[in-house]
């Protein structure tokens, strides 16, 4: 299994250059059954990463481009009248797929954004009085522009909490950018790429991740971190239990990607900024601010 995963990561590295950590983080997030939020400036390769992940995992995916006039029914689907049969039948929306690329999610109104809510947490959709299960595995990979950009609606906190991780891509290094400039078009490359996993394999991995051992010592460390966010004055509100669970799961997932059967403090430290950053975000909405909170957290809590 590990060689497959390593191969997958290598493949991804060839498309998105110099961003191995972000790719690993995204995979860790998805293997931990979490949804992923990619936040950065336009043109940094957010959508490419999302598409790439879906393709490489061999999952069926739909893309929803969020705009300010997007309606909930555009996401969930709507009942449509069949004139031949003389009755309404449900026309499933683009959310009924294994990977949803919610592109520029903060461009839509809160109403449309919240349509994704139920899908993300419950992995089911209730429409027209009927609850329908979503396929397994189910991921939402959302991208968003920094909220200070014009024409954006900041995501409600409840929705923030539902994303296990939020990652930033950042500018590529000089060398990587050179390769982008000289190499082939990424969108064409993307088409040529072959899936490395099947959806069954993804489900298998998802079931293996929670079995990665978390020792008491590590749980102590985790809880110390969480307690710190709850008691420190620099964070407006502490991590929720969902947050601490996300922390543990993604650390497990990271350890799994590393081919280990136990979590070590470094796993927690590496995933921590992506897991807690958006949960502890204050209303300054400053990107650097969120990462500094995470850094402060890591610096202040000793490893027991």
């Amino acid at each position: 299994m590990n060689t497959t995963i390593n191969f997958l990561i290598n493949q991804a590295n060839e498309i998105i250059l110099g961003k191995e950590k972000q790719i690993r983080l995204s995979l860790a997030c998805l293997f931990a059954r979490g949804h992923l939020l990619i936040e950065d400036l336009p043109g940094m390769g957010k959508t490419t990463l999302a598409q790439l992940l879906a393709r490489l995992m061999g999952l069926q995916y739909n893309r929803i481009q969020f705009t300010s006039d997007l309606l909930p029914s555009d996401i969930i689907g709507a009942a449509i009248y069949d004139r031949d049969k003389g009755e309404f039948y449900f026309h499933p929306g683009p959310v009924f797929t294994q990977v949803v690329l919610a592109d520029e999610i903060n461009r839509a109104t809160p109403k449309a954004q919240s349509a994704l809510l139920e899908a993300m947490e419950e992995r089911q959709i209730t429409a027209e009085g009927e609850t329908r299960d979503l396929p397994e595995p189910f991921f939402v990979i959302a991208t968003q522009n920094p909220t200070y950009h014009t024409g954006t609606f900041p995501l409600p906190e409840s929705q923030f909490d539902r994303f296990m991780m939020r990652i930033e891509l950042g500018f590529p290094s000089r060398q990587a950018e050179r390769s982008i400039l000289t190499g082939r078009d990424r969108s064409i490359l993307l088409q040529t790429i072959k899936p490395c996993l099947t959806s069954e394999q993804v489900l298998k991995i998802q079931s293996l991740v929670p079995q990665v051992h978390v020792s008491d010592a590590l749980l102590d460390y985790l809880q110390d971190l969480v307690d710190f966010t709850r008691n420190d004055s620099s964070t407006s509100n502490g991590l929720s239990p969902r947050g601490s669970l996300a922390l543990m799961r993604s650390a497990q997932s990271w350890a799994f990607l590393d081919g280990r059967d136990a979590v070590i403090p470094e796993d927690v430290q590496i995933i921590l900024p992506s897991v807690v950053g958006h949960r502890l975000r204050q209303y300054t909405d400053n990107l650097s601010d969120t990462s500094s909170i995470a850094q402060k957290l890591l610096k202040s809590v000793a490893i027991p």
């Binding site: 590590l218 136990a262 070590i264 610096k299 809590v301 027991p304």
Partner: protein, 645 residues
């Protein structure tokens, strides 16, 4: 719930003998009802029934004690309320009230008894109650009983320094604020102020402690250990009384010589007024007098443990001038009794001139004729002295002393009986002497012109061992009632002495800690005139510093939590690396740390990586192999990084 009931039982247990039987039965019944109400969903009684029960129980108590106020009735009433509260357990508040009532009842025990055992027991009970409180605040899972009790013990231990400060510094009043109502039913053990035949031999069966003495320096020889108590003057043919007594002035009219013994006596309560002193006392403790029998008399009845210091000389001349009234009472005799003795006395009187010769002759008579010393003498008839001297010839010290004084008086020699104790057991552990009721003794004094009152112990003539050693040696057979206390088993004996010594210290330092001791203790700390303000300040200062210490301790223990061996060894490893300039940051994980170190020091890579690898395995992975730890230990022990030049 069971635990609460156990607490109830524990709280009530020491009172069981003091409360009426029906009350105990009621408490037990109510307890069972309460238990069933919780476990088997029995119904709690209605309010009106509860009220009825309260009224009935209160009436019962009133009938039993004749009052609802006072110590016994009050405690009984409290027990009733405590028990009935069980039937009202609806909310947490009820149970908490129950526990507080329990605490109060625990304290009431000290109104009855203040021994060390009771104190220890009470401590245990309050730990139990505290753990109930803990259980309540944890929303009552009884499964964690051990944990709760452990925490209660911890809390109690934490309270001890506080308790000590309060104990040492809390203002003491020179006299108690209130007197507890007297209870006539209390059994009196000890000498009484009359002497009937059989009285002392009865007392001798008791192992109860009469008093304890600690000598400030030397200890007199056993043959001089006569502890003087009341002096008996009047005889009615059967019983001796103390009827005649006159207080002497404080500067006593005795002439003393020889060695002075100074000692402190801790007297067990005997419900009488007299104090005991080594024959004969030369100084009078405060709050007491001395009478013309040279007995010390306390101003107050000895109801509680009483401690006083006195000094004595064993060589003395007392009462060298006999007043007329004294002479008259010292020669008083009942009329028309003991004809044979009278005849014999006249005979002796003719043969010897001086009182001392007569006494010597009588003692010789006791020694030569087959007189025996026994705890169970045969009964004497109407002419008791006749019977004893010529028929039964076996008796206890009171028989000898009584007939001796009778004879002396017949011969016109002033004589009297002294009650008290003779001997005592020295406790080497506590450096003090225990005098028990079994050491009770009676001896005689005769008055000789120019020499005053002379002690003559006729028992010594019959059974010299009684005076030289102890009552056990004097008796021809073992006293069965002596039992435990007179055990020959050396281990048991030592244990008993340890126990008594602990008890003595308890009495001395806990119960006997009064205002005088307090101020002398405070003086040692440089607080001379302990005013209320000073005491308040010192209480605050000591409590404050204690809190400070606790705060520091908590802080320290927070900073340095206890680590398991794996972690300790790893810290050692980090220290070793720290010495060569790689200090581990608190937030630095093991791999990051190892990478940082090996990045700069490639020569250490193998060792550091191995140790880090094993450490991670031991600390974070599931079921690490058992032999890994020893390898880990070895690796770290062998790891000696050197500084790079």
């Amino acid at each position: 719930m069971l635990w609460i009931l156990a607490c109830q039982a524990m709280v009530i247990a020491p009172h069981l003998l003091r409360i009426p039987v029906w009350l105990s039965i009621m408490s037990a019944g109510v307890g069972i009802w309460g238990y069933k109400a919780v476990s088997a969903k029995w119904k709690y009684p209605r309010r009106i029934i509860l009220l009825l029960m309260v009224i009935i129980a209160s009436t019962g108590i009133f009938i039993n004690y004749g009052t609802l106020i006072g110590r016994n009735a009050g405690v009984a009433l409290l027990i009733t309320m405590l028990s009935l509260k069980i039937l009202e357990f609806k909310t947490h508040k009820d149970v908490i009230l129950f526990v507080y009532l329990g605490y109060f009842l625990v304290v009431t025990n000290f109104l009855f008894s203040q021994t060390m055992l009771i104190a220890i027991y009470m401590l245990a009970v309050s730990i139990g109650l505290t753990s109930t409180l803990i259980m309540l605040s944890r929303h009552g899972s009884e499964l964690n009983l051990g944990k709760n009790v452990k925490q209660a013990v911890m809390m109690t231990l934490q309270a001890i320094p506080l308790m000590l400060v309060m104990f040492v510094l809390f203002p003491r009043l020179p006299s108690p604020l209130w007197f507890l109502p007297e209870d006539n039913s209390r059994a009196v053990t000890g000498l009484s102020d009359t002497m009937k035949p059989g009285a002392i031999s009865e007392l001798s069966r008791s192992d109860a402690v009469a008093f304890r003495v600690s000598f400030s320096d030397a200890i007199p020889p056993a043959s001089q250990l006569y502890w003087r108590g009341p002096v008996l003057w009047q005889y009615d043919g059967k019983t001796w009384h103390t009827s005649y007594q006159k207080f002497l002035k404080r500067n006593m009219q005795g002439k003393y010589s020889g060695k002075k013994y100074t000692y402190t006596i801790t007297l067990e309560p005997h419900q009488q007024y007299w104090l005991f002193a080594l024959d004969t006392p030369s100084s009078i403790p405060p709050d007491s007098y001395i009478n013309n029998g040279y007995s010390l008399i306390s101003r107050n009845r000895i109801r509680n443990l009483y401690q006083y210091t006195s000094s004595s000389y064993t060589r003395y001349i007392i009462g060298d001038k006999l007043s007329l009234a004294e002479k008259k009472s010292a020669l008083q005799l009942p009329e028309n009794l003991n004809p044979k003795t009278g005849k014999w006395a006249r005979e002796i009187n003719r043969r010897f001139a001086t009182a001392e010769e007569k006494a010597k002759y009588i003692l010789g008579y006791f020694r030569e004729k087959p007189f025996s010393y026994t705890l169970s003498p045969p009964l004497l008839g109407q002419n008791a002295v006749d019977d004893f001297l010529f028929n039964t010839r076996s008796g206890f010290c009171e028989h000898y002393a009584s007939s001796f004084v009778y004879l002396m008086r017949l011969m016109n020699v002033p004589a009297r009986i002294v009650l008290g104790y003779q001997g005592g057991e020295y406790n080497n552990l506590g450096k003090y002497m225990i005098v028990r009721q079994s050491d009770a003794h009676a001896w005689a004094e005769i008055w000789v012109r120019g020499k005053g009152w002379i002690r003559i112990d006729p028992t010594g003539a019959v059974s010299p061992d009684r005076v030289e050693k102890s009552i056990e040696a004097a008796l021809p057979f073992r006293v069965s009632s002596g039992g435990l206390m007179r055990s020959d088993n050396p281990v048991l004996r030592t244990l008993i002495l340890y126990w008594d010594s602990a008890n003595y210290k308890w009495h001395n330092w806990v119960l006997g800690y009064d205002s005088a001791k307090q101020s002398s203790l405070l003086e040692k700390f440089g607080i001379n005139s302990a005013s209320w303000e000073d005491i308040a300040i010192s209480i605050m200062v000591s409590l404050g510093s204690m809190l400070l210490l606790i705060a520091l301790w908590v802080n320290m223990s927070n900073r340095r939590p206890r680590k398991d061996p794996t972690c300790r060894l790893y810290l050692k490893f980090c220290q070793k690396l720290g010495r060569i300039g790689f200090r581990q940051m608190a937030h630095e994980g093991p791999i990051d740390y190892a990478t940082r170190v090996t990045g700069k020091r490639l020569d250490l890579k193998d060792e550091v990586d191995l140790i880090t690898h094993i450490y991670i395995k031991l600390r974070y992975s599931r079921n690490p192999p058992t032999n890994l730890f020893s390898q880990y230990k070895k690796c770290i022990r062998k790891f000696h990084p050197r500084k790079n030049k």
